[in-house]
Amino acid sequence: MALLDIRNLTVAFQTGNGMFTAVDRVSVSLSEGEVVSIVGESGSGKSVAMLAMMGLLPWTARVTADRMEFDGKDLLAMGSGEKRRIIGREITMIFQEPMSSLNPCFTVGFQLTEALKTHLRMGRKERRERAVELLNQVGIPEPVKRLSVFPHQLSGGMSQRVMIAMAIACNPRLLIADEPTTALDVTIQAQILDLLLKLQQDNDMALVLITHDMGVVAETAKRVMVHYAGQQVEHQEIGGLFANPHHPYTAALLAALPERAASKKLPSIAGVVPGQFDRPTGCLFSPRCRFVTDLCRSSEPPPAPAELGSALCHYPLDDGVPLNHPDGKEAV
């Protein structure tokens, strides 16, 4: 049985101009100890999807799903009290901005031990010992001294290490890491990523790694979900994804990787992810797709079969060739 099983999750925000669908029928499933990655450009609904699962969205969000289960328990149906026993204990999350994610008014020690007190009812001395142990695990030097330090005295990398320590405090079974390295120096990014993967293996926890960096994906995940404008456009094993991407968007993302770029100039994907006001009809990627046809502009593509990465495309690619495309091989 899957540890996390989400089917057709949809999140719509109430805005001044009506409803805005930020996440559109996204499915995520994950078994115990597995690492999956969600990739996509900014604004593609990666964070919103995971925040919806955690129950951390503001009241303007309407969350619906055919199924949303953790360890067989229905997350949608349970009351908020019951959910709080899972959130922060069995499922935890770390965020993109470590500096602003720590409360500036409380010490590292206080924030680190809070979950231990709430969920595990540990005594003061026990909590302190565990906190020191956690800071050691995430590679923070002089852990005893750091307990009484305030967040503004920490660097970005240190803050993210503290966030990670907080997230693994109760030995969660699932950790959601939402672009954990985006805000950090390039030199620190690799360290934090390595740390996350090491902890994932040592503690045998499942990990959802959200990123918009295909390079990060290549180094970490076994399975990848590609999101675009709130939709899940492709879902594949890592090897297959890099060797044979089925959605033109995935192919474009890969082509934009520095080591894959054919010329010196980086081929970036022209255009931006559509938002609330410039949502195209038909396929959402059609304005930026090089294989676009009239069919793409007028009708929404159905998901392709699983062996084609469930690609949300009228002409899913196979070995770089769009299948059933009117121009055939000429299109490439």
């Binding site: 709080r84 959130i87 922060g88 965020f95 500036p104 008014c105 979950a115 005295q153």
Partner: protein, 336 residues
């Protein structure tokens, strides 16, 4: 932190000097001759008038008068009332506890009601409660104190007869002041009903004086809370599975308090201004009423000394608030 404190103190000294100058000049600009006023209906001879002008130093050039005044201040002499002939400082200290008692009760009431009201309004943003609190705060803020005080007196004292109209305690009770705070002294006196009488006298003036600070604190708390509730660290706290009460009452409130404390501190100055009106309405024998009386009697030294002492107290309170601000804000407390 040490440097922060030094800086704050460094600002106070020139400010205080500025206040002495303003107080001095302002008083001289008021129309009316104090010596003639003292003489009253009887009038006085030219010669006696000149002698008294000289005695109080009113005949010297204005700069010299100011110099003399500063010198006196340096020696802790805030002047002598030309009506009662008692040192201004002494009169001030006798009446000050009454004002402290009233102001303290008012600010406590304002914080006790304003903080939770602003907090709940922020959490339940857009709700009926939120609209009620915000409308109430706006009304309270724009209410003329004098009119509001009279309205309360008419209703609660006149029509309902629940509260006394003026004074600090019923004339039935008499005891020597120990602390000067009527609530404490009436308890210490051990007389039956004295404490209750003191409370009944305190209620209306406290409500009147608390109105504006209450409105300001409620509004400020609401806006500070709204801002803080959208911060990333609140999401982190919720992601830990903490109860909503702990998230808002501890994680959010602790941060929202930082701007609120500053506002509460600024309200102390407003409170003294309000005390002048409130004490006059309720014949509350504090420094507010004393200042008004002194102005009407053209008691220059009392007004001048009183102004300076009030200014000094406001500055000291603001300094204390700044210290509290630093204590509650780790970003200031822990800087090298």
């Amino acid at each position: 932190m040490f440097i922060y404190v030094l800086k704050k103190i460094g600002v106070i000294i020139p400010t205080f000097l500025g206040v002495t100058l303003v107080a001095f000049i302002f008083i001289r600009l008021l129309p009316g001759d104090p010596v003639l006023l003292m003489a009253g209906e009887r009038g006085m001879t030219e010669e006696r008038h000149a002698r008294m002008m000289a005695e109080f130093g009113f005949d010297k050039p204005i700069l010299v008068q100011y110099g003399l005044y500063l010198n006196q201040l340096a020696h802790g002499d805030f002047g002598t009332s030309i009506i009662t002939r008692k040192p201004v400082l002494q009169e001030f200290m006798t009446l000050f506890p009454a004002t402290v008692e009233l102001s303290l009760c008012a600010i406590i009431l304002a914080v006790l009601l304003g903080l939770p009201a602003g907090m709940i309004a922020a959490v339940k943003r857009g709700s009926f409660f939120d609209h009620t609190v915000m409308t109430g705060a706006l009304t309270g803020y724009s209410m003329p104190i004098f009119w509001w005080g009279l309205l309360l007196i008419i209703f609660f004292s006149g029509i309902l007869g629940w509260t006394p109209v003026s004074g600090r305690i019923s004339l039935l009770y008499y005891f020597e002041p120990v602390t000067g705070l009527m609530l404490v002294d009436s308890l210490l006196s051990g007389q039956d009903g004295a404490f209750w009488s003191a409370i009944r006298h305190l209620i209306l003036p406290t409500v009147v004086l608390a109105t504006i600070p209450l409105a300001v604190i409620a509004r400020q708390t609401r806006s500070a809370m709204l801002e803080v509730l959208g911060e990333d660290y609140i999401r982190t706290a919720r992601a830990k599975g903490l109860s909503p009460i702990r998230v808002t009452g501890l994680h959010a409130l602790r941060n929202a308090l930082i701007p609120v404390i500053t506002v509460v501190g600024l309200q102390v100055g407003v409170l003294f201004a309000g005390a002048i009106l409130t004490e006059t309405i309720f014949s509350w024998p504090g420094i507010g009423k004393w200042m008004v009386d002194s102005i009407f009697r053209r008691d220059y030294p009392s007004v001048q000394g009183g102004l300076l002492l009030i200014a000094a107290i406001v500055m000291i309170v603001n300094l204390l608030v700044d210290l509290l601000y630093a204590l509650i804000n780790p970003r200031i407390r822990h800087t090298e």
